[in-house]
């Protein structure tokens, strides 16, 4: 950039205006700009490729040792000789906590967003909006500690006993919500995750809801639609790409969240039929055990990391696919 400025000023000083020279200078500048930005973009691919390669290299001994059975082996016994390691527990925990978190956070988050943009009186908008931004700004370790000292005990003392009593004897639900209550459980971790991903869904939805042209909504209200109908048939269809984007961002965070989950999930590799039992997630397992691991154990932890990477990749590409399909439908 600096070079360009120097060149142009020296050209002016040179006297007669040389059109061809000026044009080629512009062309050079354009080219340089193109290549610089392109290089930046390529560096992302390079970086990603490097990360994948080093993950695969690190995970290779475990892949060779355990093969595909790693995916459905539940035992995690690093002290055995040779270690018996399987990823089923962490995979199960990751999926269960993320799915429950999303099941809670999506309706609540969208509800907040709809209220804020469509129904909220002006004076309440700023406080609620700011509260959501603040929620997003709280570090995850703080969520973890809050979950550990406040939310977890509260759930274990008041919410879980009620749920256990309600569902006792009911098939399936009775097993899922079986006691004893515990403040270190899959359920509590999922709830913390739901609170943590809520601001992602809400603030992105609020932003995209604001992009709906007022004339569309006014037209719908004009023909006598209720607010619910306007939201259902105008706002959501108009903004669904953005909303799904927000949900995917939230899911990405839920899948990879580490510190808060490690605090409150109980860190047990055994799969428990009850949501009130302890579990673990892929990222929590890695965070807990990596520092003291070596050999196959460490390699298996790196393989877990690779699995999380692949899992996230599938989720994101699934979202892309869904978006593409939606856009196609809208096009028809």
């Amino acid at each position: 950039m600096a070079d360009m400025a120097v060149q142009s000023s020296s050209m002016e000083a040179a006297g007669p205006y040389d059109r061809a020279k000026a044009l080629s200078a512009f062309k050079f500048g354009d080219q340089a700009f193109y290549w610089i930005t392109r290089l930046c973009a390529m560096s992302v691919l390079l970086l990603l490729g490097g990360i994948i390669l080093s993950l695969i290299a690190g995970a290779w001994p475990a892949m060779k040792e355990y093969g595909l059975a790693f995916l459905w082996t539940q035992r995690w016994a690093p002290a055995n000789d040779p270690p018996v390691l399987g990823a089923l527990g962490p995979i199960y925990g990751t999926l269960v906590t993320s799915v429950i978190a999303m099941a809670i956070a999506i309706p609540v988050g969208l509800g907040i967003a709809i209220f804020l943009t469509e129904l909220c009186p002006q004076w309440l908008r700023r406080p609620i909006g700011m509260a959501i931004e603040l929620l997003a700004g709280i570090p995850s370790i703080i969520y973890g500690m809050w979950g550990f000292f406040v939310l977890g005990p509260y759930l274990a003392d008041h919410v879980q006993p009620f749920m256990i009593a309600t569902f006792e004897g009911v098939p399936v639900l009775g097993t899922i919500f079986a006691g004893p209550p515990s403040y270190l459980s899959l359920f509590n971790a999922a709830l913390i995750l739901a609170i943590m991903v809520l601001p992602f869904i809400t603030s992105i939805s609020v932003d995209v809801f604001k992009t709906v042209p007022p004339v569309l909504k006014e037209a719908a209200y004009g023909v006598g639609c209720t607010t619910w109908e306007v939201v259902r048939n105008v706002v959501i269809p108009y903004t669904k790409v953005g909303v799904i984007g927000g949900i995917m961002l939230a899911l990405g965070r839920a899948l990879g969240e580490t510190m808060a989950v490690t605090f409150i999930i109980g860190n047990s590799f055994r799969i428990s039929g009850s949501l009130f039992g302890p579990g673990t997630t892929i990222s929590a397992a890695i965070a807990s055990e990596f520092a003291e691991s070596d050999g196959l154990h460490q390699s298996a932890l790196i393989l877990l990391g690779l699995l999380l990477f692949v899992l996230t990749f599938f989720v994101l590409s699934g979202a892309r696919l869904m978006l593409m399909r939606l856009e196609k439908k809208a096009g028809n």
């Binding site: 403040y183 860190n267 590799f269 807990s288 691991s293």
Partner: protein, 336 residues
């Protein structure tokens, strides 16, 4: 050009002064971190020489010294003699601590509850699940134990504390040995995992009817209710500095190659059964001889003058004869 030269000169000077100060670097076990940093602080005041210790975990400490990125490594789980030989390392115990079972039981004070190794293993195996189980009542006939489920708490991260605790359970219970075994991280049959000694301590104080294990210092600082133990000699002992030191002096250090002694389940009427030493690792032929010599000076100083500081933090100094032995090892094995 002149300017550039000046920069280079200043840079060189900075580099040379920092090399001159020769800060010793060490990394490893988290358990001795408080005492090592206290020693380092006092040592710096006295001699002007600093020590930089990173508490990154025993396993990581072993890796760092193998990679020669630090002057010394620190580990709670000692390396076997043949492993030391292979890597050209010297190992010695630096300071001791103890692991105590802690509980959160209403109306029961520290030391009132008595457990045996076998019982502890059965609780951690999930065989004994209630506080009023016959096996617990048998050892504690006078206590009023609740008919509540035992919440088992253990470490979720790999740790030297877990290594020593599981080593003890494996010695006390054949069942534990075959089903779970010992290590810095094991396949826990039951229980919830918490990160670090402080995590377990926090869990215990939060959860009613819970049992866990922490370093003695953590139990004391957090005012947790600890339990007494029945030791190898069949005597009931309480966790005190005297009972920890009894375990250490009853151990046979002189005959153990590379000081590979795990202090759990030692003989002697007064021995606390889950005592543990934490170890230092250094290269026989160090890459940086000056730093290595400096480190030995520091350790000598710590053995001579650090005992009181260690005791203030609830660590147990190594007994005098063992220190003599270690000092002999230094002069024989480490080339500097």
């Amino acid at each position: 050009m002149k300017f550039l030269k000046a920069i280079v000169a200043v840079g060189l000077m900075a580099a040379s002064t920092s090399a001159f100060a020769a800060d010793i670097t060490g990394a490893g076990a988290t358990f001795p971190f408080p005492v090592y940093s206290k020693w380092a602080d006092a040592y710096k005041k006295e001699t002007g020489n600093g020590l930089n210790y990173q508490s990154i975990g025993s396993g990581a400490g072993i890796k760092q010294i193998q990679a020669k990125t630090v002057t010394f490594g620190a580990t709670d789980a000692p390396l076997k003699a043949e492993q030391l030989e292979k890597d050209g390392l010297v190992q010695w115990p630096m300071v001791m601590g103890a692991i105590v079972p802690v509980v959160n039981l209403e109306g029961i004070a520290s030391g009132e509850l008595v457990l045996s190794g076998e019982l502890l293993a059965d609780i951690y195996l999930g065989k004994v699940t209630k506080w009023d189980d016959a096996a617990i009542v048998k050892l504690n006939p006078k206590l009023k134990l609740p008919s509540a489920a035992i919440t088992v708490v253990r470490r979720s991260d790999g740790s030297g504390t877990t290594f020593n605790f599981t080593d003890y359970l494996a010695k006390a219970s054949p069942d534990w040995k075959t089903k779970v075994g010992m290590g810095t991280a094991v396949e826990w049959p039951v229980g919830v995992g918490a990160k670090g000694n402080e995590g377990v301590a926090g869990n215990i104080s939060q959860t009613k009817n819970a049992i866990g294990y922490v370093e003695y210092a953590y139990a004391k600082q957090n005012k947790l209710t600890y339990a007494g133990m029945i030791n190898k000699a069949g005597k009931t002992v309480q966790p005190t500095v005297a009972s920890f030191q009894a375990a250490a002096s009853n151990a046979d250090w002189a005959k153990a190659p590379g000081y590979y002694v795990i202090l759990t389940d030692q003989p002697g009427d007064a021995s606390w059964p889950i005592t543990a030493a934490t170890f230092i690792l250094m290269h026989k032929v160090p890459a940086d001889k000056a730093a290595s010599a400096e480190a030995i000076k520091f350790f000598t100083w710590a053995f001579e003058k650090g005992d009181k500081m260690a005791e203030e933090l609830d660590y147990i100094p190594m007994p005098e004869p063992v220190v003599k032995l270690i000092e002999k090892t230094w002069s024989a094995d480490i080339k500097s």
